[in-house]
Amino acid sequence: MTAMSDSTATPAVASLSTSALFLGFLKIGLSGFGGVMPFARRMIVEQRRWLNEAEFLDVLTLSQFLPGPNIVNVSIIIGRRFQGAGGALAACGGLMLMPLAIVLALATVYAQYAQVEAVRGACSGVSASASGLIVATALKLTRPIRESSWQVGICVVVFVGIALLRIPLLWMLAALCPLSIGIAWRTRP
């Protein structure tokens, strides 16, 4: 019934060429400021229908849980699904190529004008604002874990250890990941 006309539930495309992967992720790389995931979702699910909503959510969850930049992981998983190793390389390369070139060009230009008061000021404004964006992202991410007191506890310990005590990440992860997964296992529904 209506599920068929709903773009998010329709079956995804059956096949995708390596060049389509490259060009698609090239566009994703260029489309977002301060994080590209919302743009990636819109293009992959709604516009080109490479994946349906549920499939995308699966890929996203896995990408967030594995180490590495989330969108890079998304490109690897989708590239691999359609074209194996070549597809993963094409998708990831397409994603990173232009942003890397642009940001390095921007940095080179910035270095020329770094002494100009207005340029330094604009940068200070952007970094102050962008810090607020990250705090907002983090606070939104706390929503799904607020109900569970042990998850809140782990979150607080990580924050205190990393932000206030400046404990190296490796030690924090080595201590807290097993503990947290252990609690999750014992309290599994």
Partner: protein, 175 residues
């Protein structure tokens, strides 16, 4: 002959790549710890400026890594740092993704996901804190951070407007 600093960059970000559970934003405090406090590759202020540049360009959050590499060893440094940050984790994802999807409903998989979630949230909160402390040196900077935070939580305004407005205020010497 490859300059030693490129090897060092590659080694640093190779390790960070595999530790970056929760994405690039989650390892910002660790990058700051290593490049500012341990290795003295740059000052606090340099780090804040690079972070601003990474947000002013389109693309993934991971670009802060490219800029740290650029600051340390030029354009080549930027490329090396980016490859080192993306490479190891991508290989891991490539190998794990397939197996992981087959165990979608396994209890151990769900336990791992529930266990990792609060760790990543804590890491990103820590990033917000470290960045705010690094970037904000005046009451007006804190006000911009606070205003951006409030707008993000209360409205659906696109973040680019907030970054643009903050850049404008800064350019006129108001930060």
């Amino acid at each position: 002959m490859i300059p030693p600093v490129l090897w060092e960059l590659a080694a640093q970000f190779f390790v960070l790549s595999l530790l970056s559970i929760g994405g690039a934003n989650a390892v910002i405090p660790e990058i700051h710890l290593r490049v500012v406090e341990t290795d003295h590759w740059m000052t606090d202020n340099d780090f804040a400026q690079l972070f601003a540049l990474s947000q002013a360009a389109p693309g993934p959050n991971a670009l802060i890594v490219s800029l740290v590499g650029w600051k340390v060893a030029g354009v080549l440094g930027g490329v090396v740092a980016t490859l080192a940050m993306a490479g190891p984790s991508s290989l891991l994802t490539y190998w794990v993704a397939h197996a992981w999807e087959r165990f979608r409903d396994a209890p151990w998989r769900i336990a791992i996901q529930r266990g990792i979630a609060p760790v990543t949230v804590g890491l990103i909160l820590a990033s917000g804190y470290v960045l705010t402390r690094t970037a904000d040196h005046s009451w007006s900077a804190y006000a911009i951070t606070g205003a951006t935070l409030a707008l993000c939580l209360a409205t659906r305004l696109h973040p680019l407007w907030m970054l643009g407005a903050a850049a404008g205020l800064g350019a006129f010497g108001l930060v």
